[in-house]
Amino acid sequence: MNTVWSERLKRNSLGWGLLLPSLLILGLFTYYPIFKTTWLSLFRMDLSTPVPVFNGLGNYAALLEDPVFLKVFINNIWFGLGTVPTSMALAFVMALFADKAIRGKGFIRVAYFYPNMIPMIAVANIWLFLYTPKFGLLAHVASWFSEQEVSLLGQPGTVMGALIVMIIWKEAGYFMLFYLAALQQIPKDLYESASVDGVGMWKVLWRITIPLTMPTSLFVAIVAITNAFKLVDHLWIMTKGGPDNASSLLLYYIYETAFSYNDQGMGAAMTVVLVILLLIVSSLQFFGWDRKIHYE
């Protein structure tokens, strides 16, 4: 009896001991910050209130009335709607190409994937240069057609579209890899028997390829949606969220509120909103949804 207990104790302390280093870091930089932010979000803490005042859910109520927050939130939704389905569809097509390509397979993959290896800040510089009036590539091209100067990033109506195109350029190749992996896992004999039966290409795509890559689509969708809330580096270089907040996104607004306006209570409240959003989106993957699609 005693040896069982000492064995169990040994096992438990070994397990927890091995986890200790990781737990310590996660505790300091994930759990503790989440709790602390939640707590801070209940206080008024900005430049005009030197001593924090308990505010209950006041910050959240204020968020609902803050036109900039609402605008940024809606921007983020548009940004997601603009980037996620398009880059996924493109990634799928790219994967079909890259999988089938007989000649230049390596070239195709590199060409599609390389934007992902470039830091977002460098991507921002590159595209800022493409978009820039007078000197940019697009300005050159546009000058063949019209005399008028185009400034895509300078107008509230076009800035979001311009950024969405850039993000699709960066992300599609990354998502392509997941589809490539999925395509390679589809058993070859399925395709063989389909071709023996004389089933057409579109039908094969529709009946075999797309259903069998469903789990991957789900995974990619989750990654893409969470990314849509995390990608902000480019705003720092390209637009600073402007003009007139037309291109600002949630995380960037948090960064500005917390570090430029020093409004800590509001920054905390917005962080909580973002964290809850991310938790909801990603738990869809981990609980339930995933399994249903797998074994349908």
Binding site: G15, F29, P33, I34, P119, G173, F178, F219
Partner: protein
Amino acid sequence: MYILGLLWLIPMAWVVWTAFRPKDAALGFHWSLEWTLDNFITVWQEAPFGQYYLTTLILTGGVLCVQLLSLTLAAYAFARVRFAGRDLVFILFLVQIMVPPDVLIFSNYHVLKELGLLDTKLGVMLPYFASSFGIFLLRQAFKQLPYELEEAARVEGCSRLGLLWRIYVPLSRPVYLSFAVVSFSYHWNNFLWPLVVTNSVENRPLTVGLALFAKSTESGGQWTEVCAATLLVVAPIFIGFLIFQRQFISSFMHSGIKG
């Protein structure tokens, strides 16, 4: 499909082209074949890119080394040690994948302030020393190794840590490599967190340096230099990618399937 590939290459090609062009030739509309290295020389003299390189190497390398150690231990615990509360902690670890440290910039900044580590290299690295993503990746690999190996080694009198080091680590080399590639490129490219944490030149990585450089040349006339600077920052990882593209691509593929 080749057209799409070419289309994808245009932005980069345009930047490379501009970076090597003399200033007035690049910004004018006439075509010529002049080229020059002046832009790179100016950039190298105007901003401490050498220092940035060194810092970035230290940061990415440092994070990776500690990560490899911490995630080996944790992955082994999750894969092969049956301890109380394992499933619960496992879920707790998932939270980091859903809410990565970057999202918590504001609160992590305060944690770092309380620790007195603002504007230090350690401060930039610390939040990333544990990686749930890496732990899950490695746990999967460890689980796939036959348990008989472990039993045999223990009969021979090998300690648990000994067999972790002699059996699990060497047999999981490909997974370590995948993780290293993904982690290295992530931290080489990381921006927001180092931007928030650092104030001094010697702690700044390339990405922040590049951003500040680009900001300092507000007038449109310096595009050739900005392009050159961008290339300087992109070059190492980009060349690495071109040489080892097969490994890079399969690393990213690998890490996705298992995620």
